[in-house]
Every structure is written in structure tokens, then in C-alpha cells.
């Protein structure tokens, strides 16, 4: 009779704790992972999914018997290749890491040593564990480079990390993980930091590499659509606890738990684009460059934003969408063109602008943490514009602050809290309130949802839409995420290399025929369908062959 295949990894009742030192409070223990059990057979891929703080990375790393800053493996068993590694130490532990299990981090850019050549880093563990002599290791590395579709793979290893792009680094990191022929690779959000168009390629490359090498993998991500492409099974986590565990097909098509269903159905908001209206903002022939440089980051940009509506500016990093925002706010005075706001022409530079211009044109940032002074309470943060623009003080101010807090659906008692005590979503809401406090005509939203978990992001988007209805405020919405665009935009401007390549009402922009870039962009948006990336890439190959 055929013997049943042994499990490669068996995690039983895993419990991970950490001690946290909240400012001004006594240190306390927090449970990061609570009674999680999961197993993985050789050559299979397990997807760990959940929002930030769900403990997915923590579990992934536990398979290397590693716990980050101050966390400790507090209970349960981690059985790898038939032995419990949870209490391994010293040499035994080190020979496990980098040999049996390897790791691909979220930000390869930060995870490569800037002062060493890629090749040396890629084959470091292979050499350290004397798996093969240097020439052989380098040969294998080059093969992996080729397999992962890196440009001129033979010389690629000679470069330094800063000399290659983010997507390439991510692949190099995958090569580094695969080089010592491990039994298990832990992928920790390997594509999250990448632009969509890059993400799809890296994703496909990783998927292929896994298939060819037959290595088992833990694939950690917050994006179901992504994990759907690679994983055989999926473990859904929340607050360090198991929510649901099943095959990819079951989780995506027949989720049992409400939370899973929410995850699956995320980004289902849609909204009717509004009718024409007089423009509150019009940008005409704006060209800009950073002083000291000699090339234009904005080239002859023309867009209009009707009052009370939303203009979504879409594009990948470096497309100049944020620069456009800086130009409008006056932080980067344009070299040519003019910006008209609420009927009057704005002076290009910030100092020249009237207080009302400043008041009616507010901004919300991507990183809510860095957008709020950590030493000020929510009350002070929201209160300042009220006092500054409307001269309200004391009680009047307090009342207005509370109004705003209610508007952003945050109850009593928040006014006295410090940003550090808020969740990511709450922080972003406070930032919105701060913008609203100025009673603006236009709010520039710079990637306001991209740092947030999908569900939270949805909440924020809903809030923004409600506020637009109530206050008739217009949004200039900068994002790289087309789903978000669908959710809220009335108009869309697609930017590429400092130019607006496609501009118009949402329906016009999103209906074919597309220009090449928009096509590329739209087709790269992850979809749940299995085998989607291959199709797309295949399609693209044919097209380029066609031309």
C-alpha cells in the first residue's frame, strides 16, 4: 500500500507573545499569535492572508524559529522535517536557517546589504553551508537569474543593490532564497511594494520558479487576488487567530466565515459619476522641474476639476502624479502654465498666496503617521486650523472639533488622545477632519488609502464620498490603484512619465479602445481568476510579437 506523504512543516497550537512598552504605561504582554495550527506538504504552497497585525509574518518567520524584536515563541510545536525546532539554538538553529528554510522579505531594497555585490549575497548561505563550491554556486545563481527573467543574468550578480530596480531586486531576493535548494521558502509580501505593472511580472516569475524547483512555500500577503495565483491552500488570519483554513478554490469561491467573505468582496463600492459642473480647479499647460535638475517632471499638463467632484490622477511611481499635487499646492512653482482655483489665478509659489487660497485648498497625505505631529493631541491637531483660519478659541473651538470628530465617525474622548494611540484608519480619519476643519473647496488626497488594509481603505473611501455629498467638496485623488479609482472617480487622468496620456470622464477613460499604457495598467490589476497573470503576459507577448 502507498505510504502517506509526510508533512514538511507541522505547526501545532503555536503561541507567540511579545512585551510592549506603551508610552507612559507599564509594560504588558501582548499575544501576537494564538493557538494556530497548520501543516504543509513538500512542494505545496500555503498562503497566509490577513490584515496588518493578523500575525501572518510572525507565523511565517516562526517556521525559521525566528521571532522579531522582543517577540518570543511562547508555546506549541513547530515540526520541520520531523523535528521540533521551536527550542533550537546556536549552531543547530543556524544550519537550519538559510539551508532548509529561506526567506524573501517585503522590501528587497532594504533587505540587501548596500555595500556588497548581489552575487556575494545571493550565494552567501550556499557557500556558508558548503553545499557546493563557489563556481558551482555562481553558476546556479546565474541560472536562477535567468529563470527569474532578470536582464543579462550573467553579469547581473556583479551589480550593487542600488544599481538595479525594485522589481529586479525582488527577483534577486527570490534567487537568493532558492539558491541553496531549500525545502521551504517564506515569501513575505514579496510584491506589495511594487507597481502593478511590475508586480504581475514578478508574481509570474515567482510562481514559475516555485513550480520548477518544486520547493514548498509559505506565501504571505494581504491581497487575496495575489495569493489566489500561487497558493494551493489558504489560511485566513485575524488578530493572530485562525479564521478559516481551506483550499484556495474553496476560500475564494465559497468562503464560510463572514470576515473572509468581506475580504473577498472588498472594493465592491461603485459610484455614479456626476454631471458636468463649473470647474473649481483648472490646470493649464503646467510644466515643472525640480531646481537643480534639467528635465521636466511635469510636461504641459492640462486637467480640470468640476466643483464637488473627484478627479483621480492614476499612474505608477515616478509618473509625476504627486508632483502635480506639489505644483498645485505651490510647493513646487511651475516653470510654465497657470493654475486657476475657484475662479482666481493662483500665484505659483506658496508665499504669494492669499490666506483664503490656502484655506480652501487642503491636503491629505499617504502616511497619516508622519502627517500628524506626534506631540500634539487630536484636539490640537484638528483645532489648529479652526483657530488659525476662523479665530475660534476655547469652548467654541472645542465644540467645532467635536463636530468634526462626529463627522469622521469618531466618538467622544478622542480629542485628548495622541496619534500614537490611534489605529491606521483612525489616523487617516483625523487627517481628513483636519482638512475639513478649514471648510475647503478642494482637498488633494495623495494615495490616502494605499497604506491601509483593504477593509479599512474601503471605510475611508466611503467616508470621503459621504463628506463630498455633505460638504460639496472636490477631491484631487492621487492613486496607483485602479480599483480605488473605479470606486470614487468622476474624472480620470492617467499619467505616465510626467504627461497626461489619457484624460476624461470615468466611463470614457475606462472603456476601450485603450492607448498602450492604459491598457498595460488596466490589465495588470490583480484579478481573482486563476492563471490570470499568465494569460495577460502571454497576451502581451503576442502583441509585442505582432508589432
Amino acid at each position: 500500500m502507498p505510504e502517506i506523504e509526510k508533512n514538511l512543516l507541522d505547526i501545532q497550537h503555536l503561541r507567540i507573545e511579545a512585551t510592549s512598552y506603551p508610552p507612559g504605561e507599564p509594560p504588558r504582554d501582548v499575544v501576537l499569535v494564538d493557538d494556530v495550527s497548520v501543516s504543509l506538504k513538500p512542494g505545496r504552497v500555503l498562503g497566509l492572508i490577513g490584515e496588518s497585525g493578523a500575525g501572518k509574518s510572525t507565523i511565517g518567520l516562526s517556521s525559521m524559529a525566528y521571532a522579531r524584536g522582543g517577540a518570543r515563541l511562547a508555546g506549541g510545536h513547530i515540526i520541520l522535517n520531523g523535528r521540533d525546532i521551536i527550542h533550537l539554538t546556536g549552531g543547530k538553529l543556524r544550519s537550519l536557517r538559510g539551508k532548509e528554510v529561506t526567506y524573501v522579505a517585503q522590501s528587497a531594497a532594504a533587505s540587501f546589504n548596500p555595500s556588497k555585490r548581489l552575487m556575494d549575497q545571493v550565494i552567501e548561505t550556499t557557500l556558508k553551508n558548503r553545499l557546493m563550491p563557489r563556481p558551482a554556486a555562481e553558476k546556479r545563481a546565474r541560472e536562477l537569474f535567468r529563470k527569474l527573467g532578470l536582464p543579462n543574468p550573467d553579469s547581473f550578480g556583479e551589480r550593487y543593490p542600488h544599481q538595479v530596480s525594485g522589481g529586479q531586486l525582488q527577483r534577486a531576493m527570490t534567487a537568493m532564497a532558492l539558491c541553496p535548494k531549500p525545502d521551504l521558502v517564506v515569501f513575505d509580501e514579496p510584491t506589495t511594494a511594487l507597481d502593478v505593472t511590475t508586480q504581475i511580472e514578478v508574481l509570474a516569475a515567482i510562481k514559475e520558479a516555485i513550480r520548477d524547483t518544486g520547493v514548498a512555500a509559505l506565501y504571505i500577503t494581504h491581497d487575496l487576488a495575489v495569493v489566489a495565483q500561487v497558493a494551493d491552500d489558504i489560511l485566513v488570519l485575524r488578530h493572530g487567530k485562525k479564521v478559516e483554513y481551506g483550499t484556495t478554490d474553496q476560500i475564494i469561491n465559497a468562503p464560510k466565515q463572514a470576515y473572509t467573505q468581506a475580504l473577498v468582496s472588498v472594493r465592491s463600492i461603485d459610484h455614479e459619476e456626476k454631471a458636468e459642473a463649473p470647474p473649481v480647479l483648472s490646470v493649464a499647460h503646467v510644466t515643472a522641474r525640480y531646481n537643480g535638475t534639467n528635465f521636466d517632471v511635469l510636461k504641459n499638463v492640462n486637467v480640470e476639476l468640476p466643483a464637488g467632484q473627484t478627479l483621480a490622477v492614476v499612474g505608477e511611481s515616478g509618473s509625476g502624479k504627486s508632483t502635480l499635487a506639489r505644483a498645485i499646492t505651490g510647493l513646487l512653482p511651475p516653470t510654465q502654465g497657470k493654475i486657476t482655483f475657484a475662479g482666481r489665478e493662483l500665484s505659483p509659489a506658496l508665499p504669494g498666496r492669499k490666506r483664503d487660497d490656502l484655506r480652501e485648498l487642503q491636503m491629505i497625505y499617504q502616511m497619516a503617521d508622519t502627517a500628524m505631529n506626534p506631540r500634539q493631541t487630536v484636539g490640537q491637531i484638528i483645532g489648529r486650523p479652526i483657530e488659525f483660519y476662523f479665530g475660534l478659541k476655547g469652548e467654541a473651538k472645542r465644540v467645532r472639533v467635536q463636530e468634526l470628530l462626529d463627522q469622521i465617525e469618531m466618538g467622544k474622548g478622542f480629542a485628548d488622545r495622541y496619534p500614537a494611540e490611534l489605529s491606521g484608519g483612525q489616523k487617516q480619519r483625523v487627517c481628513i477632519a483636519r482638512a475639513l476643519a478649514a471648510k475647503p473647496k478642494l482637498i488633494i488626497c495623495d494615495e490616502v488609502t494605499s497604506a491601509l488594509d483593504p477593509l479599512v481603505a474601503d471605510g475611508i473611501l466611503k467616508l470621503l464620498l459621504d463628506l463630498q455629498r455633505q460638504e460639496n467638496v472636490a477631491y484631487l485623488f492621487i492613486t496607483h490603484d485602479l480599483a480605488t479609482v473605479r470606486a470614487i472617480a468622476d474624472r480620470i487622468a492617467v499619467m505616465y512619465r510626467g504627461q497626461v496620456v489619457r484624460y476624461g470622464s470615468k466611463t470614457d477613460v475606462l472603456t476601450p479602445p485603450f492607448d498602450d499604457y492604459t491598457d498595460l495598467l488596466l490589465s495588470s490589476v490583480p484579478e481573482m481568476r486563476l492563471g490570470w497573470p499568465e494569460e495577460v503576459l502571454e497576451h502581451r507577448k503576442m502583441e509585442s510579437a505582432g508589432n
Binding site: 522579531r68 544550519s95 538559510g98 529561506t102 522579505a105 540587501f112 548596500p114 555595500s115 556588497k116
Partner: protein, 318 residues
């Protein structure tokens, strides 16, 4: 042209510019010191006649700027003028004493720098554990001890209790290297005590700072030993800050050791300056000041150049 070369050249040029500015500041600053130079030189037995003669001879009646450029010209041609108090040629006097200063500084550096780095690495390796605490404790004490206290302590210990060294550390031309080293042993010990702590602490800090980076975690997850991680991955990226602090201390060893020189009657630049400052021997003060500034700026240039070269982004541009 390779960007590094460009940067380096820029940096050096900037340094020279700075030095020029400093020379002006020193010259005019010293000129502006209160007190009548002539009076100070001739002291008690100064007859008005003698005073006037001296003023003439020193050209104190010319405008300051003219005198500055004359002086600068002299400096550039290696002529620092003559000491007003005993008419000896300043260049030669400084030459010898600068030699002594450097000799002391180098002897101290040769011991302290490697020691500091090693201790720093060890402390970083065992951060928060007893070796770290021990090293930090000791260095903290030495850093908190005024030099002269340390000096007298070693004098008492090593010339009286255990008479192995000499309390007076003068060195002369024609002394054998061995003899010189034996002579300066005590000041070297004191200086090592003083600079070691600072360098070691900064090394430790720099390493620990780098240890925060993600690529250190990568290295740990590669299963490298802690020392491998520090040596292969942390240290190369901590070089720049370490070098800058090392250089800072080297500079200190050259320009900051007046006290030690006084206590051990070591005949080097510091004492030379002190003697002449009080005599308002302006040419000497200006010359020595310039030499010190030059050393200081030079070392800082070296530090910058090293950190430029140590930066892979600059070394291997895209």
C-alpha cells in the same frame, strides 16, 4: 571624470578655501587681542624709546589687511617670521615641536584606534549583556576623568609606586626610538584613556544603529553567527560614522593635549603656544594657530573623503 574623483576634488578645494578663511580669522583675531604687544614683549624694563623702536620694527603702524597679506605671502613661502620674544625662526621651532606633537599623537593613536574598534565591536556584539556593560562602565569612567587627574594618577602609580617610567617626558632630537617611546609612555597612556572611550562608544553606537536595518535581519535569517553578521554586514556600512569620530579624536590628539604636555613637561606645540600667548608673541600665536587649524581641517577632509569612498552608491554609480 569619475564622480568620486570629482567629489574628492571638490571637498579638498573646499577645505583649502576654509583654511584660507581660517587664516584670515586667526591673523586678524589675534591682532585684535587686547593688550599692547610691544609693552608685553619688553615687559617691565620698557622705556618709551624702546617701545617706539619695537612698534616701528614690527610695523604695527601699517593697516591690518596689508600686514595680513604680507604674512600670508610669507606663510605660503614657508616663512613664518621670527619670534618677537627671542628672535628664533618660528618655522624651525614649530617644525621640531610639531614633530613631537605628531609623535605623541601617533603613538597614542596606534594603540587606541584598533583597541577602540575591537572593544566597540565586542560591546555591540554583546549589547546589553555583561561584556557590554563592563566595557561601557570602564570607558564611561575614563571619559569622565579630567586628563590632569588621570595624568597625576599614572605618575604616582608608574613612577613612584612601580618606578617603570619617567615622570618628565621630554624628547630630544637624536634620541633613539626606543628611548623616545619609553619617554612618552605616560602621556600616551593618559591620552589613550581619554580618547579610547569616545571612539569605542561611537563605534558601538554606529554598529547598533546599522543593526536596525532590514538587511541585518536578512543576514540573521541566513543563519550567520552574530560576529559574522556584525563583521560582514554591519561594519562595512558603519565605516563612515566610525571614521569621522576616529578622525575627530586624532585631531584632538594633535590640538587638544596642552594639559598633558604641561603636566609631563612634554616639549610640543601646545606648551609652545601657551608660553607665547601670554607674551603676546603674535607671529608665534598666529603660526601655531594656523598649523593647528590646518591639521584639523586636513583630518576632516580625510574623514569626508573616506566616507565618500566607503559609500557604494558613489563608488558604483548607476
Amino acid at each position: 571624470m569619475h564622480p568620486i574623483l570629482k567629489l574628492v576634488i571638490q571637498r579638498v578645494a573646499l577645505g583649502c578655501l576654509l583654511l584660507l578663511a581660517v587664516s584670515a580669522v586667526i591673523f586678524l583675531g589675534v591682532e585684535a587681542l587686547p593688550g599692547d604687544t610691544a609693552q608685553a614683549i619688553l615687559g617691565q624694563s620698557a622705556t618709551p624709546q624702546a617701545l617706539e623702536n619695537l612698534r616701528q620694527q614690527m610695523g604695527l603702524n601699517e593697516p591690518a589687511l596689508v600686514r595680513y597679506f604680507k604674512w600670508l605671502g610669507g606663510v605660503l613661502t614657508g616663512d613664518l617670521g621670527k619670534s618677537l620674544t627671542n628672535g628664533t625662526d618660528i618655522a624651525t621651532a614649530i617644525g621640531q615641536r610639531l614633530g613631537n606633537t605628531l609623535f605623541l599623537a601617533v603613538s597614542a593613536a596606534v594603540i587606541s584606534v584598533p583597541l577602540a574598534l575591537i572593544l566597540g565591536l565586542v560591546a555591540a556584539r554583546y549589547a546589553g549583556r555583561w561584556p557590554d556593560k563592563l566595557i561601557s562602565g570602564i570607558t564611561l569612567t575614563t571619559i569622565s576623568l579630567p586628563e590632569f587627574v588621570a595624568a597625576y594618577f599614572v605618575i604616582y602609580l608608574l613612577t613612584q609606586v612601580f618606578p617603570v617610567f619617567l615622570p618628565v617626558s621630554m624628547v630630544f632630537p637624536g634620541m633613539s626610538l626606543g628611548a623616545k617611546l619609553h619617554a612618552v609612555a605616560l602621556p600616551v597612556i593618559v591620552l589613550v584613556m581619554v580618547v579610547l572611550a569616545h571612539m569605542m562608544r561611537m563605534t558601538r553606537a554606529a554598529i547598533l544603529n546599522v543593526m536596525q536595518s532590514a538587511y541585518i535581519e536578512t543576514a540573521e535569517l541566513k543563519g550567520l553567527t552574530p560576529m559574522q553578521v556584525i563583521w560582514k554586514h554591519a561594519f562595512p556600512n558603519a565605516i563612515a560614522p566610525i571614521v569621522s569620530v576616529v578622525v575627530l579624536n586624532l585631531a584632538y590628539l594633535v590640538v587638544g593635549v596642552v594639559v598633558v604636555e604641561v603636566v609631563f613637561s612634554y616639549n610640543a606645540l601646545g606648551q609652545y603656544l601657551v608660553d607665547h600667548v601670554t607674551k603676546r608673541d603674535l607671529p608665534v600665536v598666529q603660526a601655531v594657530g594656523l598649523v593647528f587649524a590646518a591639521v584639523y581641517i586636513g583630518l576632516n577632509i580625510i574623514a569626508d573623503v573616506v566616507s565618500i569612498v566607503a559609500n557604494p552608491r558613489l563608488r558604483h554609480p548607476k
